[in-house]
C-alpha cells in the first residue's frame, strides 16, 4: 500500500470521467478501471466513489442504465454524455497545463535563475 499515492483533491471527478470515457462501466468497474489505467498507483476509498458518481449525474455529465454484469449481477452502468465528454476534455487540458507548469517550476536549478 505504501506505493499508492493519496488522490489530489478535485481529481476524482476527472478520473471517473476518464474511466467512463473508455466505455460504460458500473461503479465497481470504475474503481477497477482507474486502478488499472493508473497502474495501481492511486488509492481510492471505495465508498467515496458513489457520492462523486451521483454528483456527476446531477451535473448531467454522466447518464445511467441498469444492466447485468459479466458475472450476471444487476448493476447500474454509467456512461459519458456529450457534455461529460466536453468537460473531460477541458479538465484534461487544464491538468496538462498546470502540471507542466508545476513540473517546470520544480525542475528549476539555481544556475537557471
Amino acid at each position: 500500500m505504501s506505493d499508492e499515492a493519496e488522490l489530489l483533491p478535485g481529481t476524482l471527478d476527472m478520473l471517473i470521467l476518464k474511466a467512463v470515457s473508455l466505455g460504460p462501466l458500473h461503479g465497481y468497474g470504475v474503481l477497477l478501471r482507474i486502478q488499472q489505467i493508473s497502474g495501481d498507483a492511486l488509492f481510492i476509498e471505495q465508498g467515496a466513489l458513489y457520492p462523486a458518481l451521483f454528483r456527476l449525474v446531477r451535473q448531467g455529465l454522466l447518464k445511467t442504465e441498469w444492466d447485468r454484469s459479466e458475472n450476471n449481477r444487476r448493476a447500474k452502468y454509467y456512461e459519458l454524455t456529450a457534455k461529460g465528454r466536453k468537460r473531460l476534455q477541458e479538465e484534461t487540458d487544464w491538468w496538462n497545463r498546470s502540471s507542466k507548469a508545476v513540473a517546470a517550476a520544480l525542475a528549476a536549478r539555481p544556475q537557471e535563475i
Partner: protein, 893 residues
C-alpha cells in the same frame, strides 16, 4: 449544469425517495458482491471474501447519506423540513399562533386596504397620454386665483399662443336627459372638439369628438361617461347611434368614454361639443366668464415659457379692452393630474402611513413575543446545535417560523380586504376623485406580498439576531433555564416596547388633532338651520322654459301645491344651494359713491337667485330691512338683499338699506339695484373658510342673461314639519308635487339639508374614523406589549420576589419596584413619541381646522390617555406578582 439532469435529480429526491434508496442499496450491494467475487477468485472462501469486501468498502450508511446529499434541491428539502418543524412548534402553542396571525392579518389588511385606495386615486395611471404635459388653466383675479374665462378670451388665447399643441375650453353643463326612461338631471360638460385629442383619450366604444362637431350646423351629438352608460344603459353596446333628449334637444349618442376619464372639479356624465364659433357670445367681450381651459405643452416648451406667453397675451387684451379685463390680473397654471388629486393627497398619505405604523407596532409586538419564546427555546436550540445544526440553519428556522405567520396573516388580511371591498367603498367619501373605478389589481397583490416579506423580517429578525449573538453552549451547560443571552434579550424587548409606545403616541396625537379639528369644524355655524329641511335639485327643459316668464310660471304653479302639503311649512327656490359641491356663481359690484381706486379692485360677491320664502325655509335670519315679497317683480325697481358680511365690508359707515349699487350680472352694462334687506352670513362653498359676502336677487327680477344658468341649476328647499307624515312621506310628496307641475322636469334625489352638511364633513369624518381606529389598535397593541414585557420580567424574577417577600418586603414595595420599571419604559416611549409627533406635525398642518398642528392640549390629552392605559396594563401584570406565595416562589426552580 444541465437543467434536465438537475430537475430529474430534484424530482428523485422528493418524489422517488423510496425508489432511490432501493437503488442505492442494490448498487452498493452489487459493488460489494462484485468485489467479493474478485476476492473469491483470488482464493478466499465466499464468507471471508464477502466480509473482506464489506470492510474495504466502509460504512454503507454514511455513503448512502452522502449520495442523497448530492441529489439536487438540498436547500428546498431542508426548507421543507423547517416548515414542517415550525408548523409542529406553532401547533403546540395555539394561543401565540392565533394572536400572531390575527395581529398580522389586521396590520397587513389595514395597510393593504389603505394602499388599494392610494393606488386607485394617486398611483393608477390617469387616462391621459403624457399627462405631465397637460396643463389646466384658470384666470387669476385679485380675490380668487381660480376663475373662469369668457368665450372671446378663450378664442384669443387659443389662436395667439405658440406654446401649446392645442388649447381646449370646457364649461360645466348640467342638463336634463330623457329618453324612454324617466327624465334625469345629469352633470356634464361642454368641451371644444379638440379636447379629446389634447387629452389623448380614446373612446371605449364609438368615437369621441371630432373637428366637424364644432362646426356650424353640425349634427347634435353627445358622449356618455362610463358611469352613466353603466347606470342608465346597463353597459349596452348598442347605445351608440341612439338618440336622447338633452334639455329638450335631440342628440345622437356617438360614443362612450373609458372609465379612467376624469376631469378636475367637474363631474362628467355626458360631454357635448362647445361649438364656440357659432355661439352668440363669440364676440361679446363683456360676456359671462364660464370657461376653463386646458392644453398640451409642445415638446420643447417649459411651463414657465408657456406661462409667460399666455401672460403677454393677457396684457395685450388688457390694453385693448381695459374695462373688461381689468379684474384679471394673471393666470393660474396647474398640471392636470395635480389638479385632480391635490386636495386628497395629504389625507390619503396620512392614512396610509398610519396603517403602516399599526403594522409596525404589530410586528414589533410579535418580535417581542418571539424573543421570549426564543429565550425559552434556547436549550432546545442548543441541543440542536450540539447535534450538528449550524447557526445559519437555526436562524433560518426562526425566519421560516415568522414567514409562516406572516404569510397566513397576509393572506387572511388580503381575503378580508377582498370580501370587504364593498364596506371599504361605503366608508370612503364619494367625492374622492377616481374612487369610482376602484379595483384590487396586481399592484395591490404585489404590495401585500411585499408587506408580508417585511413583516417576516420585522418579526423574525430580532430573535434571530439574538440567537446569532448568544453562546448556545452556555445554555446547554447552565442549569438555569433560559438565562443565556437573557440580558441582551430583555434589553431588546424593552427597547421594542418603548418603540411601540412611541409609535402609538404619534398615531394618537394625529387622531387627537383630527378629532379636535373635526369638532371645531362641525360646531361652526353654517348660517342656516339644516334640521328638517329637504332639498331637491332639478333642471328645466330648454324648449319649454325659454325665458324668465316660463320659469316664473313654473314657480307659480309649484308654490301653491307645496303650500297645500301639510308636512311642508315653507318652501323656496334657490339657484345654488349652500355647500353644494362644485358650483360657483359670483358677480362684481360697485358703490357709486365709492368707485374702486383701480378697476381690478372691484369687489365681488356670491350671487344667488331666490324666491321670497327661501330664507324662511332655510332659517337664514333677517338682520335689517325686509325679505323679498311676491310683489318684487319685473315691473318694479330691481332690489337685492345682501348678507351682513357684505354690509360690514362695504357699508361700514351707514346702513346699507335703501342704498343703490351697480351689479355686473349681464352681458351689457352694469345695472343699478337697491338694497332692501340684510340677512345673516352663510357658508356657501365650504365650512372651513369664513363666510364670504352674499347677494340675493328675486327670481321675478332675474336678468335674462342668467336664465340659461338658472334653467340648468335650480334647487327647491322645503322646511318640513317632522310630526306630519315623517321624512319619507314628505320626500315622496315633494317629488309628486314637482312631477305634477311638469312631468318633463328632471328631478334629482331628494336630500335632507343635514345630509348636505354631513357631506361637507365627509372626508374629514373618513380620515378621523380611520386614523382613530388605527390609533386605537396601536394603543391596544402597545399596552399589550407593555403588559407582556412586565409579566415576563416578573416571571423571571419570581424567586427574587419570593425572597424579598420572605425577608419582609411589603407588597407595596414590590408593587413600586415593578411600577418604576414600567413607568421608565413608558416615559421613554412617550418622550420619543412626542418628539416624533412634533417633527411630523407640519405634514398634517393642511388637515387642521381652528387649532395648531402642534396643539399642546391634544398632545397632553393623548399622552395622558396612553400613560393611563399603560399603567393599567402594568397594574394588571403586577397583581400577579403580588399574589405570589413566598414558599411557592422559593421552591420554584
Amino acid at each position: 449544469m444541465s437543467l434536465v439532469a438537475y430537475f430529474r435529480s430534484v424530482s428523485a429526491r422528493f418524489f422517488r425517495r423510496a425508489k432511490i434508496d432501493n437503488e442505492l442499496e442494490t448498487e452498493l450491494t452489487a459493488h460489494i458482491q462484485l468485489h467479493a467475487d474478485r476476492l473469491e477468485r483470488s482464493g478466499l472462501d465466499r464468507a471471508a471474501a464477502e466480509r473482506r469486501a464489506r470492510i474495504e468498502f466502509g460504512s454503507t450508511e454514511r455513503f448512502k447519506e452522502e449520495c442523497r446529499e448530492q441529489l439536487g434541491g438540498n436547500f428546498l428539502d431542508t426548507l421543507l423540513q423547517d416548515v414542517r418543524f415550525s408548523l409542529r412548534t406553532l401547533r403546540k402553542s395555539p394561543a401565540f399562533f392565533l394572536v400572531a396571525v390575527i395581529t398580522l392579518a389586521l396590520g397587513i389588511g389595514a395597510t393593504v386596504a389603505a394602499f388599494s385606495v392610494v393606488n386607485s386615486v394617486l398611483l393608477r395611471p390617469f387616462g391621459f397620454s403624457n399627462s405631465d404635459k397637460l396643463l389646466w388653466l384658470y384666470s387669476q383675479r385679485s380675490d380668487n386665483p381660480r376663475t373662469n374665462f369668457s368665450l372671446p378670451e378663450y378664442c384669443d388665447y387659443r389662436d395667439q399662443n405658440t406654446s401649446f399643441d392645442g388649447l381646449a375650453a370646457i364649461a360645466s353643463f348640467n342638463p336634463s336627459l330623457s329618453d324612454s326612461g324617466e327624465p334625469e338631471r345629469v352633470q356634464g360638460v361642454k368641451m371644444s372638439a379638440n379636447a379629446f385629442s389634447i387629452l389623448g383619450i380614446h373612446p371605449l366604444i364609438g368615437r369621441t369628438l371630432i373637428a366637424e362637431d364644432d362646426k356650424n350646423g353640425a349634427e347634435s351629438v353627445v358622449l356618455l361617461s362610463y358611469g352613466l352608460w353603466a347606470r342608465r344603459y346597463a353597459k349596452s353596446p348598442d347605445v351608440v347611434g341612439r338618440s336622447v333628449n338633452i334639455n329638450g334637444e335631440s342628440r345622437q349618442i356617438v360614443g362612450v368614454l373609458p372609465s379612467s376619464f376624469a376631469l378636475p372639479n367637474l363631474d362628467t356624465d355626458i360631454v357635448v361639443p362647445l361649438q364656440p364659433e357659432s355661439d352668440p357670445r363669440r364676440n361679446a367681450r363683456n360676456s359671462v366668464n364660464f370657461l376653463r381651459m386646458f392644453g398640451r405643452l409642445k415638446p420643447n416648451v417649459t411651463v414657465q415659457q408657456a406661462h409667460a406667453e399666455l401672460d403677454s397675451i393677457r396684457q395685450n387684451l388688457h390694453r385693448q379692452y381695459p374695462d373688461t379685463y381689468t379684474g384679471k390680473i394673471g393666470l393660474t397654471i396647474v398640471p392636470i393630474t395635480e389638479e385632480i388629486v391635490t386636495n386628497v393627497r395629504s389625507v390619503l398619505l396620512t392614512i396610509f402611513c398610519a396603517a403602516g405604523a399599526v403594522l409596525l407596532v404589530g410586528c414589533t409586538n410579535l418580535a417581542g413575543i418571539s424573543l421570549s419564546r426564543a429565550g425559552a427555546r434556547q436549550r432546545e436550540l442548543a441541543v440542536r446545535t450540539a447535534l450538528g445544526a449550524t447557526r445559519n440553519r437555526l436562524v433560518r428556522l426562526l425566519l421560516v417560523e415568522s414567514a409562516i405567520l406572516a404569510i397566513m396573516g397576509g393572506s387572511l388580511g388580503l381575503i378580508v380586504e377582498m370580501l370587504g371591498e364593498g364596506a371599504l367603498l361605503r366608508l370612503v367619501p364619494t367625492d374622492l376623485p377616481r374612487i369610482d373605478t376602484f379595483a384590487i389589481d396586481w399592484k395591490v397583490f404585489l404590495f401585500a406580498s411585499g408587506m408580508t416579506l417585511l413583516a417576516t423580517f420585522a418579526c423574525g429578525l430580532a430573535p434571530a439576531w439574538l440567537l446569532s449573538r448568544s453562546d448556545l453552549r452556555d445554555a446547554l451547560v447552565s442549569s438555569n433555564r433560559g438565562s443565556a443571552g437573557g440580558g441582551v434579550q430583555s434589553k431588546l424587548r424593552i427597547w421594542l416596547v418603548a418603540g411601540q409606545i412611541a409609535l402609538a403616541l404619534v398615531l394618537l396625537a394625529n387622531a387627537g388633532l383630527l378629532f379636535r379639528s373635526f369638532f371645531r369644524l362641525s360646531s361652526e355655524q353654517p348660517g342656516f338651520d339644516p334640521t328638517n329641511v329637504l332639498t331637491v335639485r332639478f333642471s328645466l327643459p330648454q324648449v319649454t322654459y325659454a325665458d324668465r316668464a316660463a320659469i316664473v310660471q313654473f314657480y307659480e304653479k309649484l308654490q301653491p301645491r307645496l303650500a297645500a302639503l301639510p308636512g311642508i311649512q315653507n318652501a323656496g327656490l334657490v339657484s345654488i344651494l349652500p355647500l353644494a359641491p362644485k358650483s360657483i356663481s359670483f358677480v362684481h359690484f360697485t358703490r357709486p359713491d365709492q368707485p374702486p381706486s383701480k378697476p381690478e379692485n372691484t369687489p365681488s360677491t356670491n350671487y344667488r337667485i331666490i324666491t321670497p320664502d327661501y330664507f324662511r325655509a332655510m332659517g337664514i335670519p333677517l338682520m335689517a330691512g325686509r325679505y323679498f315679497s311676491e310683489e318684487d317683480n319685473g315691473d318694479r325697481p330691481s332690489v337685492v338683499i345682501v348678507s351682513s358680511v357684505l354690509a360690514k365690508n362695504h357699508f361700514p359707515d351707514r346702513s346699507p338699506i335703501g342704498q343703490r349699487i351697480m351689479i355686473d350680472d349681464n352681458d351689457a352694462e352694469p345695472r343699478p339695484v337697491e338694497i332692501v334687506g340684510v340677512v345673516g352670513p352663510v357658508k356657501q362653498s365650504n365650512l372651513e373658510t369664513p363666510a364670504r359676502p352674499d347677494m340675493y336677487l328675486p327670481l321675478r327680477q332675474a336678468h335674462k342673461d342668467g336664465v340659461p344658468f338658472l334653467r340648468n341649476s335650480i334647487y327647491c328647499v322645503a322646511r318640513t314639519n317632522p310630526e306630519v307624515g315623517g321624512v319619507a312621506y314628505n320626500v315622496s310628496q315633494l317629488r309628486v308635487a314637482m312631477r305634477n307641475v311638469d312631468p318633463d322636469v328632471a328631478v334629482s334625489n331628494v336630500r335632507p339639508m343635514s345630509e348636505v352638511l354631513a357631506a361637507a364633513l365627509a372626508s374629514r369624518r373618513f380620515s378621523l374614523l380611520l386614523i382613530g381606529s388605527f390609533a386605537g389598535a396601536a394603543l391596544f397593541l402597545a399596552a399589550a406589549g407593555l403588559y407582556a414585557v412586565i409579566s415576563y420580567g416578573i416571571q423571571q424574577r419570581t424567586r427574587e420576589i419570593g425572597v424579598r417577600l420572605a425577608l419582609g418586603a411589603t407588597r407595596g414595595r414590590i408593587f413600586g419596584m415593578i411600577f418604576k420599571e414600567g413607568a421608565l419604559l413608558l416615559g421613554a416611549g412617550v418622550a420619543a413619541g412626542l418628539v416624533i409627533a412634533l417633527m411630523l406635525a407640519s405634514f398634517v398642518a393642511s388637515q387642521m381646522y381652528g387649532i395648531s398642528e402642534r396643539d399642546p392640549f391634544s398632545f397632553a390629552v393623548v399622552s395622558l390617555l396612553l400613560a393611563m392605559i399603560s399603567l393599567i396594563a402594568c397594574w394588571i401584570a403586577s397583581r400577579r406578582a403580588l399574589n405570589v406565595d413566598p414558599i411557592v416562589a422559593l421552591r420554584c426552580e
